[in-house]
């Protein structure tokens, strides 16, 4: 199996890479910096904030493809009151979390780089079900990916037998989550990224994968009581921001 993982050097992306390595897949990683743990992995440096960098990617992986699995895992976050957020941060969030996966999907599909029978998985966030006060731009970008994946799902299956999915994980024990947690947070209740990666890779049919018990509970709460769920997120995150 050939797999292409964006954000594969760190966090959930690296956990996906570990799972796939165990399964014997051939892996190509797209990230800003090279993976620390396993330097033997094929790595393509790319700044996903730059549309030109994204456009140059398919040519670089032309020989490697078509891929049986593409996981769009690269993402950043920034927390803080929206009105105080620097404009460059907002632009970067938009470019990396929202525009980059959409542009890369378009490039890969236009050049037939995803194999028939293959999977294309976007990584969004459980904030899709709850809202995320204190990270409004992040929440918006992730919701865009959910709608994008939902929109692509039927036509890509009908035309090319490609399965499009989107996963909405909750907080994990990654450097990413630790960086954006409110001060004083112990990190308890955060899921192990390897378990989340396994749950995502195992769920081969679902349109929206909610991996892990905590994320499923948050999603259920958000579905049943959307207003209260956002209010709870506000209490645990926004009101504890420095």
């Amino acid at each position: 199996m050939r797999a292409l993982i964006t954000g594969g050097s760190d966090g959930l992306g690296a956990a996906v890479v570990r799972q796939l390595t165990q399964a014997g897949a051939q892996i190509w990683i797209i990230d800003k910096s090279a993976p620390q743990t396993n330097p033997s992995l094929r790595f393509l440096p790319c700044d996903l904030a730059q549309p030109d960098d994204i456009a140059s990617l398919p040519a670089k992986v032309q020989q490697a493809g078509p891929f049986d699995l593409v996981v769009m895992s690269a993402g950043i976050n920034a927390v803080g009151p929206f009105e105080a957020m620097p404009l460059t941060t907002i632009r970067n969030l938009h470019a990396i979390n929202c525009a980059a996966p959409i542009l890369l999907a378009q490039h890969l599909l236009a050049q037939d780089m995803i194999a028939a029978g293959g999977r294309l998985i976007f990584i969004a966030s459980v904030s899709h079900f709850t809202g995320y006060p204190g990270a409004s731009v992040y929440a918006g970008g992730k919701d865009a990916l959910v709608a994008f994946a939902r929109s692509l799902r039927r036509p890509l299956w009908a035309d090319q037998r490609i399965t499009v999915q989107v996963a909405t994980p909750g907080p994990m024990r990654t450097a990413h989550a630790a960086r954006y947690a409110p001060p004083g947070s112990t990190g308890r209740g955060r899921a192990c990224p390897d378990r989340i990666a396994r749950a995502i890779l195992r769920s081969k049919r679902r349109a929206v994968i909610v991996p892990g018990v905590a994320a499923r509970m948050m999603a259920l709460f958000g579905r049943l009581f959307p207003v209260q769920a956002t209010q709870a997120m506000r209490k645990t995150l926004y009101e504890r921001l420095p």
Binding site: H94, A144, F148, S151, P155
Partner: protein
């Protein structure tokens, strides 16, 4: 980039008592729903500042006598200009500018994807950022105009993504700004505008299924008044309900 629009027309705006007169900012004012909103607001005697892509001399006949600025919201200069030219105190800001194409992803181009995401999602985010002070000063309402496509639409994936992004952003921002600025996301159904025509919805059936632009504009304005929920859809059903009960969609 910048022009005020001095067209004179004869129908004098209604004189509203000062407490009924509102200061509005509307983007996408030069066509479609935004234009109809400006016409209705101006006729009702409100103070309106409009922003649009078109130059002042290219505005349609019958454009209301309001302050108008040309700004291309796909560019960062356009977003800066919006924040600069906006009134210092706002009762209502309606971020309505949008563009879209009715086509599958394989027929999209990277440039078009970037433009749709920039105008429909990044620009309203930047505008909300720039207008916070004015909206807070007026204890105002920020309206983000989305689309019913925000839940996903096979025929227009990039457009649907941009509108879903707006919905998710608005939902979280509403919570952040509660007690300071009231944030609402308004999702009109397919509306008979130039955008729908350019997007490729030109078949007679599609035309018949689309909502009339004036009714949608009135629905959008109603959704910006009074106590409102975060998410409001404007559909045939909602328009009918509004007609019968007089309540917002």
């Amino acid at each position: 980039m910048f022009d005020t629009h001095p067209i004179q027309d004869n129908d004098q705006p209604l004189q509203l008592p000062p407490q009924g007169r509102q200061t509005w900012l509307v983007t996408g004012a030069s066509a479609g729903i935004g234009l109809a909103v400006c016409q209705i607001l101006h006729a009702a005697g409100h103070d309106v500042t409009g922003f649009g892509r078109r130059q002042a001399q290219d505005l349609p006949a019958g454009f209301p006598d309001i302050a108008y600025h040309t700004a291309d919201l796909a560019t960062s200069q356009g977003c800066d200009l919006l924040a600069e030219r906006a009134p210092r105190r706002l009762d209502r800001a309606l971020l309505n500018a949008g563009l879209g194409h009715y086509r599958p992803l394989c027929r999209e181009t990277p440039q078009a994807i970037n433009d749709v995401l920039a105008v429909n999602l990044l620009a309203p985010i930047m505008a909300a950022h720039g207008l916070f002070g004015a909206l807070q000063a007026g204890q105002g309402v920020l309206g983000l105009v989305g689309s019913v496509a925000y839940r996903g639409a096979a025929g227009m994936p990039v457009y649907a993504a941009s509108k879903a992004g707006l919905d998710g952003f608005g939902r979280s921002l509403r919570s952040e700004w509660q007690g300071r600025v009231d944030v609402r996301v308004i999702h009109p159904g397919p509306t008979a505008t130039g955008m729908a025509m350019r997007a490729g919805l030109t078949s007679p059936l599609a035309q018949r299924m689309m909502l009339p632009v004036d009714a949608v504009a009135a629905g959008v304005i109603a959704a910006m008044q009074g106590q409102g929920r975060m998410r409001q859809r404007i559909s045939f059903g909602a328009l009918l309900r509004h007609k019968i009960t007089g309540r917002a969609a």
